[in-house]
Symmetry: C2
Subunit: 809 residues, 2 copies
């Protein structure tokens, strides 16, 4: 055999792949080979979800174990979640409808493809609708199963072992995990087939950006509304219940407690699911777009890898189990963690092994390109895991950072906050170093395509890792139900163990989400450039190579030069956007929580039993240890709290949502591609760091409070200072932090979709089009101010004077 | 006369400037015309400082008005400040010596100029030393005069009107304001003359980057150490004094109160002075570097403008006065503000009028280039003022944002923090929009040179605006002295009025510092590119123009393409650096404050009078209204607190300082110019937003507490919640926020200086050089960990157990 390196130097084809695409002449056959495995596995994943759902529904509920009250409470949570979804999706349907029409018109006028047969508008619209629908569906399915799973997990813990509980909760979590990857891959592959007729591969992939855009649109609003919902309910319920009335978390007398549990489902299941749906879709799109320009085997590579990852995840599922006993959150966390890690490990081993096979089949064992791409995949996988480890260090109470927060609590809440911020900010060092190293290494190996491969590597086993994540809120809800139904301490100990495990996976999942968002955005940016550079009239220079422009007859050499003032202005605006976005979500939480507090206080004061005692009096009787006869007990009106959360969160998502949607449109049309590129670059850096900081600071505060509980100093001044930190951390880690991940990807996705409209244009060429989104933005802002949604006014204004607050000099 | 436009189209010289540089053949004459006016005015400014110092010293001190105790206290503050300066400058002298040797070697080997006569190393070193010395001197002069001014301000308030006090305090402030601009311009112009022999203008300006680098080095460490000092002392003194012992701020029994007052001088006078020394130098350097490549008149333009600004400031000084009476911080702030604004207004009117004259002289009235550049100057001036107005909106208690924080305090400290963050984050919108608009507009008018002109416009009247800023801490100290010496309520009312005014100017100054830092960095970035692009072997493409590379025989076309993965990796690291840097400073404050708290508590417990009463008991007696005989009173050992602050802040500045110094060196040498460019871009966006957020959130928290005081609800739960916000805000607004401005400029400056060393190199070309700073960094980190300076351990560890803290269930 000729030595490959020698031949490569001579510029000939030297590889010996098992599958040689060059020998296949029919494009459609190529496409079937490329995409069919993924479609099949996606379908299997969906079947798996259906089977798991059926298995789950067969598990015992409250009435089966003699506690029908459990079912009553679970029903309330389910109804609350459903009513939120209904309210939110009403808005989203209208929103998507407008976008669909807009895309139809825009791309019918400005054809994407050179083959201008008038179908580009319809193609783009179809992809958008399918993407949005799949993303929406995956949220609904995941949440529906999760709300079936919570009560069954409680029941399993009540009558069985910890492992029984874990199995039930994890089975419920898989609905989200595999639902997301199944729907994403089925949707994408079907649309790849549908887009191919009359188009080359590059063009047919471009339509799929609309699929990503559809998914992003749903994700953006679901994440924002879910995040606001969950934390407004949590903060509101805690501040009145725990702090003012002195009752436990999840005490059924607290009117906000059902809303809090609903929040876990709409925020942590539905919101996170659609977020990662987007990351997953983005990773496939980024890599296939870049691959399509390099050749069919580069396009096939990520599709097959995703299929391999999904197969690994499906097998890994069966390895999740534990023989630990539940001892509250004091139990052996690392042993419990191993229960889930086993599954992840199996999934990853299968994935990498199949990766080797894929390289040999597609590239041949003697082609360094294939191995380089696989190395990038491995780098991505390792980066994801290492980011998780770093997150663990900064947020677990076993290590210095969280302990230092607890220590500073000796001098009060102010030093807790300062220290927590310091910890959150310094924690950005690790992921930034890892991501930068990964990007540099992959770029050195395979250029931008390598970075996209790393993203695929990080996300390929998402089915498994997302199931692990989605398991958390199910366990959290199960614990809440156990508390609300006043089940025994040993049941509560088991659900607490599951909950503690869920908190750990949630923290790791957040670091992972931020990391994958960065890689996805970087890939999408590269894809964006690729699109812009393949204009009809323009071309880009690459590295040191200057294309012979005169011979090609092209108009202009388009450069995105990083010190260009237009780029820098874009970078500044881009760096600001995450702050604006995060502040809008955070102020919304603050405002909605205040409304919630008002409602809960009102109920504590006005709800009375037959004896004329108020809810507050009854609660305080119980707190003093006095017995209250069942007929004297008062059930709070939790539906009103659910209603307030739902209404407010959907109202409040409009400002941050449209801020993310309109900013790239304004800059892109007004200033042009250069300004948009700067905007994206600024956003990627700023949003990633702010997201990591928010997530880790929040996690660290949370666990410093848990550390106080563990040390039994929760009721001291020191413990109370940590509780302040925990409350501050809530919106950081569960609202603004996660929302920033989606901002990152959404902006890249919408830019990618816009690319065909702004390429071949000079700076400021189309500036008048920029006024359209700008005017829409102004109208929305004025409307929101009119409706008193954007306001500095306190929702409690007029109900309490400043002097009404407890005086305690 | 031929119509200018027609001729311009024909490509001929058509302008009719009064001064035509083309007619002057001697380069030295050109240089004298360009730089002499600035040198003369700089000299006048320094004379003005000397005169003002003499006038100040003639004012009455404590002993002249019969309260010698005032002088005793003032002496303590002065000594504390001096001992800090001594400790800090010992370190800085060594640090600068090492750098000077390094620069001598580096630039002797790698000549900057094509005229390689072996003097480049010496030239660079000389500029560096002069820059560092001038920056250091300006800090020392400013602080020395400020510590003379505080007691004289108190005395003036005690025996005179509010206007007398204002005059004295403002006169002291001018030492900093005019000292900075005088030393900067004298130093710079002298070095311009010294660098010219045997060099063309472009080269001679390049050496001056070492001047900027010298200034930056001093500024970086002065700002960081000063920031840590001031807030550690403040937080420590407040938490024990106000919160634990229940005594007033500035009560002389608090051992930390002198250190707190010293902190105002080392942080807000010395630190801020060297910070703005750097901005000012940077604005001149950025604009002259870019101007030197465009032609001598473009280089002269900023120099003359700065001279005009200085003249305006000198005249403006005489317009500062008020006829308001002092009524504490409740007095008419806007009328008081007008006292200072009058001066600013006069200075700006003179500046702009002279700008018109300059354009006519240099460019001629019919050359649009001149008017465009002047328009950029005006844009810069307007942007600076508008940023200030925005800061006022977000941090003044007259407007919604601060009021909303006070409102959320009804539900405790957690919601105060959340709301304050929201306010801080959303406040980035305004400066980002302004700066982006200014950059876009100036770039459209005159390209990168226009952006540099805007920076010059923003900073030209710095003499006046910095005097306004430096006046604040003098007034603050004066108030502290009045309190410590137990002067009457009417004196305290006057000093409080002056202090309130100082707080407002400080907040506006912070927004201004951040804005100018961004513009300076953007100009320096453009200058950096200019340097890189004029390599011996390489050339850059500009816009759509491709230079005929083959004819020029150049090696490679160097592109800083924004979607290049190397650039993006740099952006990520760059976006992370501000977080790392801010967290190191914030954790230092947290740690040093804890040491301070320990010392103060110790003194309260162990210091005893002859009767055997502890300091705490004496203090509590006084608080209860009991009289304590003078012989039973106890004077705390404030020197120990001063010593702790000094020692700790100088120790703690090492980690953040070297992090800023080494990062660009590592990336620049390891990865190359492309990575460094990405790093800078990432840092600019991220640091600017974080700085604005920190500054405004801190200011808003501070004023929400003041609002509670005004509403007389400070002692309620609501008021206490606001106090927590205020304490958290302290390091935000006075440590990490201001430090970030300097980071921004420092990184750009060090890169600019490195540019000659890394140009003409490909990516990774010199990677082994990168290991040198990397190893130094690792050694420093290990050393700091060994010395327990970088640690998560609590300084109070072992002295208090968790269970020791007050239990109050």
């Amino acid at each position: 055999m000729v030595h490959c390196d020698d031949v490569a130097v001579a510029g000939q084809q030297c590889t010996s792949p098992v599958l040689n695409f060059d020998k296949i002449t029919d494009d459609y056959t190529k496409l079937i080979i490329a995409a069919l495995p993924l479609l099949i596995l996606g379908f299997i994943a969906l079947v798996f979800v259906a089977i798991n759902r059926n298995r789950l529904l067969k598990h015992k509920t409250g009435k089966d174990i003699g506690i029908p009250h459990l079912d009553y409470l679970a029903k309330k949570i389910k109804n609350g979640a459903n009513s939120f979804i209904k309210t939110e999706y009403k808005f989203l349907v209208v929103y998507c409808f407008v976008w669909a029409i807009l895309l139809l018109i825009l791309f019918s006028i400005n054809a994407i493809s050179d083959v201008d047969d008038g179908t580009d508008g319809v193609r783009t619209m179809a992809c958008f609708i399918v993407g949005a629908t799949c993303s929406g569906l995956s949220g609904i399915i995941g949440m529906s199963v999760a709300t079936d799973g919570n009560v069954r997990t409680t029941a399993a813990c009540a009558i069985g072992t910890l492992n029984n509980g874990l199995q039930v909760a994890f089975t419920a979590g898989t609905a989200m995990g595999f639902g997301v990857v199944g729907l994403a891959t089925c949707g994408l592959t079907v649309m790849i087939f549908a887009m191919k007729p009359n188009r080359d591969f590059q063009d047919s992939v471009q339509y799929l950006h609309a699929f990503g855009m559809g998914a992003s649109s749903i994700a953006l609003f679901a994440r924002v509304a879910g995040g606001i919902y969950t934390k407004a309910a949590d903060v509101g319920a805690d501040l009145v219940g725990k702090v003012e009335a002195g009752i436990d978390e999840d005490d059924p007398h607290n009117p906000g407690v059902i809303a809090d549990n609903v929040g876990d489902n709409v925020g942590d299941v539905c919101g996170m699911g659609s977020d990662l749906f987007e990351s997953y879709t983005g990773s496939i799109l980024g890599c296939t777009t870049l691959g399509a320009w390099k050749g069919i085997k580069y396009m096939t590579f990520p599709l097959w890898l995703e299929a391999a990852g999904m197969l690994g995840s499906l097998i890994g599922f069966f390895f999740v189990s534990t023989n630990q006993k539940g001892e509250g959150w004091n139990s052996n966390l690392s042993a419990l963690m191993w229960a889930l890690d086993k599954g992840m490990l199996v999934a990853n081993i299968i994935f990498v092994s199949l990766g080797v096979v894929i390289v040999i089949v597609l590239f041949g064992y003697d082609d360094p390109e294939g191995w380089k791409a696989l190395a990038c995949v491995a780098i991505g996988l390792a980066t994801g895991m290492l980011i998780g480890k770093g997150t663990e260090y900064f947020t677990s109470f076993d290590y210095g950072p969280v302990i230092s927060i607890k220590d500073r609590a000796r001098t009060g809440p102010a030093t807790v906050i300062i220290q927590g911020f310091g910890v959150g900010m310094i924690s950005t060092l690790w992921p930034a170093l890892l991501l930068a190293t990964a990007i540099l290494a992959c770029a050195a190996l395979s250029g931008p395509y390598g970075v996209a491969c790393a993203d695929v590597g990080m996300l390929a086993t998402l089915g498994m890792s997302l199931s692990t994540d989605a398991y958390g809120p199910v366990a959290d809800n199960a614990g809440g139900l156990a508390e609300m139904a006043s089940l025994g301490a040993e049941v509560r100990a088991k659900t607490d163990s599951l909950d503690a495990l869920g908190n750990t996976t949630a923290a790791i999942g957040k670091g992972f989400a931020a990391g994958s968002a960065v890689l996805t955005s970087v890939s999408l940016l590269a894809a964006f450039k690729e699109e812009i550079c393949h204009g009809k009239l323009s071309v880009c220079t690459e590295g040191g190579h200057i294309p012979d422009v005169n011979n090609l007859g092209l108009k202009v050499l388009r450069l995105y030069e990083v010190t260009d003032p237009i780029i820098l202005a874009g970078v500044l605006l881009g760096a600001m956007l995450p702050y604006l976005f995060a502040s809008l979500t955070m102020l919304s939480v603050s405002k909605t929580a205040a409304e919630m507090i008002d409602e809960i206080r009102e109920q504590f004061r006005t709800l009375k039993n037959k004896k004329g005692e108020t809810l507050m009096e009854v609660v305080q009787k119980i707190a003093r240890g006095e017995t209250v006869a069942p007929e004297d007990d008062i059930e709070p009106d939790s539906d009103r709290c659910v209603m307030i959360s739902t209404r407010s969160s959907v109202k409040e998502m409009i400002a941050p949502g449209f801020c993310a949607v309109l900013s790239p449109l304004v800059i892109g049309f007004l200033v042009g591609a250069k300004g948009l590129m700067g905007l994206l670059v600024g956003t990627v850096g700023s949003a990633a760091m702010l997201a990591v900081m928010n997530g880790n600071a929040g996690g660290a505060w949370d666990n410093s409070k848990k550390l106080c509980e563990k040390l039994k100093i929760k009721k001291t001044e020191q413990g109370k200072a940590c509780v302040v930190g925990d409350t501050v951390g809530d919106p950081f880690k569960d609202t603004s932090g996660p929302c920033l991940d989606i901002l990152l990807k959404f902006m890249a996705m919408i830019s990618l979709l816009m690319a065909p409209l702004i390429k071949d244009k000079d700076d400021w060429d189309n500036y008048y089009f920029g006024f359209i989104p700008m005017v829409i933005g102004i109208i929305i802002v004025v409307g929101l101010i009119q409706k008193k949604i954007l306001t500095w006014k306190d929702p409690l204004e007029g109900k309490y004077n400043d002097s009404d607050t407890k005086t305690e000099t």
